[in-house]
């Protein structure tokens, strides 16, 4: 699934690896992908889609394919699931029109669209990462409190169960616009409503995903060579300034 510029996350991960001399293969996990394909993946990326496509994807993601994906996430394969993808990893999603779609139940949350005439949650989003382990590891990479900057655009509202939220909303609406939480983290899988090109503007999160994937793949600690992220820093500062959010 890829709507709303979700490809930005894939482009970012792929380039940051190839710039460092790694060979990367991007495998689309579409209808033609098999359970074996899924079980060979080192890093998972999921994006958004229209309600109808969400339903098509879920119809496809059954049986051995669903088990393979569940197995990857349970074993700690890192993943970034944005926009609509998380809704399919929770217990269920109720779209604006049509019937409830049962999810994989990996994340302990449910998502409900309040109806076609309900306001969409739209706008720039800034969060402080609060998920304990992730926050610590990101701090080790950035040497400062990790703030994520993105854009949300979703009709559905998500209510968390026992799962840990990804962060605390400083600007925007987040999971449901009520409890101040945004996203969720389960093992090394991250769910967030901040869609699309989340990673290019948060390069430390991209590097955390890559580092985690490489460490698992090669079974030894890997540290990544630094890259020139001046443009990302400038883009972040411009947005923090505009939103008058004090980050850092």
């Amino acid at each position: 699934m890829s709507t709303y510029g979700d490809r930005g996350n894939v482009i970012c991960l792929e380039r940051r690896l190839s710039w460092r001399g790694y060979e990367v293969k991007v495998m689309p996990l579409d209808q033609s992908a098999t359970a074996t394909d899924i079980s060979q993946v080192d890093l998972l990326v999921g994006g958004g889609a229209q309600d109808r496509q969400q339903e098509i994807v879920m119809r496809d993601l059954k049986g051995s394919k669903a088990e393979a994906l569940r197995d990857r996430i349970e074993r700690g394969t890192p993943g970034i699931f944005t926009c609509g993808a998380p809704q399919l990893l929770g217990h269920y999603y109720e779209p604006a029109l049509g019937v409830r779609i049962t999810g994989l139940g990996l994340f302990d949350f449910v998502s409900v669209h309040p109806g076609p005439n309900a306001r969409r949650c739209i706008g720039n989003l800034v969060i402080r990462v609060t998920a304990t382990t992730l926050a610590q590891e990101l701090e080790a990479i950035t040497d400062s409190t990790p703030y994520l900057i993105g854009f949300e655009n979703h009709g559905g509202r998500t209510k968390l169960g026992q799962v840990e939220p990804l962060g605390q909303v400083l600007q925007g609406l987040g999971n449901n616009g009520e409890d101040g939480t945004e996203g969720a983290v389960y093992r090394n899988a991250i769910a967030t409503y901040s869609h699309g090109p989340l990673l290019p503007k948060n390069p430390f999160l991209a590097d955390w995903l890559l580092q985690t994937a490489l460490t698992q793949k090669y079974q030894k600690p890997i540290s990544l060579a630094p890259l020139d992220d001046t443009l990302a820093t400038q883009a972040r500062e411009a947005m923090f300034k505009r939103l008058r959010v004090r980050a850092g």
Partner: protein, 445 residues
């Protein structure tokens, strides 16, 4: 009787107030007055759009779709005017309800009499159902449905469903002209009770080498199975069929090989074909149609060409992934070496700029030359271009210049353009208005 008189008075009052507002806005240089007069007059006479549209002598033509409305309208309007018809048109691209009303008010006298033969109205894709509840068009052109400004509306599927419901209730003599190459519109056309004439391409030599990323409806609109494309012309427009239910593209009413096109870019071939079909239905002869195409001048900012300080400048509005992929393709086809990209995120642009990651900017970077970036979200665009490069170091055949200030960016871009070459400017909507203001001193017409 009393009611009728009251209604007439109300109409007169609405018109005169609107005209006063137009004069004031223009005298005070507050803008082009393309929305506010309609807004105020509609408050005085809520059925204003209905009352005015019923006076259009020959009929109304509505043009809907994500991309190409302004260019197609202008072309059709020029064809009709050539035959001596008087045509009302919301030429500034104000395509929400108040913009449509304003366009009709412009041609209305103080007694509330509208004096035009035809009205061509560009209609925003989400407003079309509402418009159809207050007026009955003679022709509806459905150009395409791409992903655009989703932060305003939601999704292509929902829009398409609303169109189908709204058009199906119109009189049977309404002529619907949909794009056959767009699967959702082909499906729409094949399920309407009205007279439907499809336009589209039958030129396999124009197929893209690979299916571009910005594709949103490749699933069969009938059964949900993945569609098979023999070839793609642009985005999800192409020659397709569904292997599961047999759905395929509508039968074309025109052979596209027989007709020339306006301006540059394949997307303008679609716009040309749509206008031809409509003109034919309105009785315009072939010679006049061909002559208008040959002598056509672009609408503001749509492949518009200007001469600035001795340099040639071409402005190619780029407001969504499909549009921008096509403008990049057009720049490549004419081997443009200097390009200015201006990314804004104001309401008319859509406040969400993530769409730039769905654009194949890699093509622009591969071509090399000089790229200058500016706009409200200059660093987001710069970042997109950085991630379009293969190597960790910038390519040595590519020069990337970042300028926050638009005037500065334009001046630099002009300097960087060698004599005899064309500077291409790819702006979002509000950025296009700003660019024109800097280059010509005026925002619109």
């Amino acid at each position: 009787m009393k009611n009728q008189l009251l209604n007439k008075l109300r109409l007169g009052l609405a018109v005169s107030v609107a005209k006063t507002v137009t004069s004031l806005v223009r005298i005070l240089r507050l803008g082009a007055a393309s929305v506010l007069p309609g807004e105020i007059a509609s408050r005085i006479q809520p059925q204003l759009l209905e009352k005015l549209s019923s006076q259009v002598v020959q009929g109304m033509i509505l043009i809907a779709g994500t991309n190409g409305k302004t260019t197609t309208s202008l072309l059709l309007r020029t064809m009709l005017e050539r035959k001596g018809y008087r045509v009302a048109h919301n030429a500034t691209g104000a395509n929400l309800l108040n913009g449509l009303t304003t366009a009709l008010l412009e041609n209305t006298n103080l007694f509330g009499h509208l004096t035009v033969d035809y009205a061509i109205l560009e209609v925003d894709e989400n407003v079309l159902p509402k418009v159809l509840s207050s007026l009955q068009p003679k022709i509806i052109l459905c150009l395409n449905l791409f992903r655009d400004q989703l932060d305003r509306y939601g999704e292509v599927d929902i829009i398409n469903q609303r169109w189908r419901e709204a058009i199906a209730t119109l009189p049977l003599e309404t002529i619907v002209i949909p794009n056959a190459d767009d699967p959702t519109l082909s499906y729409l056309g094949q399920h309407l009770p009205q007279q439907v004439l499809f336009f589209g391409l039958n030129e396999p030599e124009q197929y893209l080498d690979e299916i571009p990323h910005a594709v949103d409806s490749i699933y069969c609109p009938n059964c949900g199975h993945a569609l098979i494309y023999q070839g793609v012309y642009l985005s999800h427009l192409g020659d397709f069929h569904c292997p599961s239910c047999g759905f395929s593209k509508g039968k074309l009413a025109l052979d596209s090989c027989n007709w020339p096109q306006i301006l540059i870019g394949l997307y303008n071939k679609y716009n040309t074909l749509a206008a031809i079909l409509a003109a034919q239905q309105l009785g315009v002869d072939e010679a006049s149609i061909r002559d208008t195409i040959a002598n056509f001048h672009a609408a503001f900012g749509r492949a518009e060409e200007l001469k600035v300080s001795g340099k040639q400048v071409r402005i190619l509005l780029s407001k969504n992934p499909v549009g921008m992929n096509e403008t990049i393709r057009a720049v490549q086809q004419v081997s443009g070496q200097t390009t200015l990209l201006v990314l804004n995120d104001r309401i008319p642009d859509g406040t969400d700029v993530s769409w730039i990651w769905d654009v194949d900017t890699e093509k622009l970077v591969e071509q090399g030359g000089t790229l200058i970036v500016s706009g409200d979200r200059v660093y987001d665009m710069a970042l997109r271009l950085r991630y379009s490069q293969n190597g960790n170091c910038p390519n040595n055949h590519l020069q990337l210049i970042i300028k926050e200030d638009l005037r500065d960016a334009i001046a630099t871009a002009l300097e960087q353009t060698p004599d005899g070459e064309t500077l291409h400017i790819l702006p979002t909507y509000s950025a296009m208005l700003e660019v024109r203001e800097v280059l010509t001193g005026r925002k619109i017409l």
